[in-house]
Symmetry: C2
Subunit: 233 residues, 2 copies
């Protein structure tokens, strides 16, 4: 009515259970076909197709036609961030999906959110990087310091994806931890590193990332938490 962006159009799209399930399934950043998404939404293919075209039209999803398949994925990291923020709200209000199982607990530990890592371990990594001064808030958002770059490079993280990017890292609200974790190209690089180094592995087709005992030790050693970094007032 008065001013500001129109929330309702986008919220209404997310508000349908079928579409919400599709969006949740796409939260790992990978692209799924219309048929697969119809499956997760629990609707017929024509219905799913209608939903998908509407979400593409609204800018929530993007399509890539490949042969006779059409791959849908989230339009960007900001979509994933908004979804996580809604999850955080729903979680706090006790709105939970019907079945909660062991998978749910594993998701809280570590999961992929778009292309980066989320969950308790992701928050730890972020906190450690902040405490170390590897990333800090600068004039153009969250920035990686030169010490941080050296540290990550020494660890073996592939930073080539960061070259020439306008925004190197961003923050994303973690629904299970209700804290910030690292997103953006640097977040992607860290998820790749965690998987490539064998610290953790993706569990099946889900968003769950399972850390191996060895990897957990390595993570705690590489990303220590300085308990006395600041006073709580």
């Amino acid at each position: 009515m008065r001013d500001g962006p129109d929330i309702s159009a986008i919220a209404a799209l997310i508000g349908d259970p079928g579409r919400a399930n599709m969006l949740s399934a796409l939260m790992d950043g990978r692209a799924l076909t219309a048929g697969e998404l119809a499956g997760v939404a629990g609707v017929s293919l024509p219905t799913a197709s209608g939903h998908l075209s509407r979400m593409v039209g609204a800018g929530l999803l993007v399509v890539a036609a490949q042969g006779r398949h059409r791959y849908y994925r989230l339009a960007g990291e900001d979509v994933a961030a908004a979804l996580e923020s809604l999850m955080s709200l729903a979680e706090a209000r006790g709105h939970r999906r019907v079945r909660t199982g062991p998978r749910d607990a594993a998701m809280r530990e570590a999961r992929s959110c778009y292309r980066h890592l989320a969950g308790a371990h992701a928050v730890r990594i972020y906190d450690s990087l902040r405490a170390r001064g590897a990333v800090a808030v600068g004039v153009s958002g969250l920035e990686v310091s030169s010490e941080g770059r050296r540290f990550l490079d020494g660890l073996g993280v592939d930073l080539s994806g960061l070259a020439g990017r306008r925004v190197v890292c961003r923050e994303c609200l973690d629904w299970s931890e209700r804290r910030m974790h690292l997103a953006g190209p640097l977040g992607t690089a860290l998820l790749d590193y965690v998987l490539a180094s064998g610290w953790a592995e993706r569990v099946g087709d889900s968003r769950v990332i399972r850390f191996r005992p060895r990897g957990l030790k390595a993570l705690e050693a590489a990303f220590p938490l300085d308990k006395d970094a600041s006073a709580t007032v």
Copy 2:
């Protein structure tokens, strides 16, 4: 379907234009009566009453009965944060409400978001506090350092509201800046300070906060931006 919180129920509530308008009107953190909210939503009183009771039931709003009035307000800061994150999405996708006027530009400069300050100036304050080391990420979230406490106290900010609070400050995504600004009790204290010190004033009944020229100078002096705090890689 599978795991995680159920987004769709909450998103569906926000997805109705009338309800979205009500929520937007409540973004300044103040409580409005059912009649006033019916006005901003553009619906009759019975309709508004139905909407409001549903949102209370879902935990988005809370009511306070006062005489023959019933005051509705957002249930918490996390609701405001989720709404701002949706605004950020909608803004980026070009979903704008019909009329955009001078008020809109003023909103980008400075506005209240729940009980704290948002907009370009709010982001500046946050960045300055981060660069100065006044607030930093600790083990239990965003924390105020003892130097930060001294600095703010010396400035004249009333920190009495922070005593005994579990979380002293939080981050909130700014829809116009697409950056983080300061929320939580400290954010509230800073908004109070900015208004009490005469740096700025609330414009009518809107969320707009207008800075006086003198206040703007004072803000820039008190919260400098160190352009060379960190390298951009």
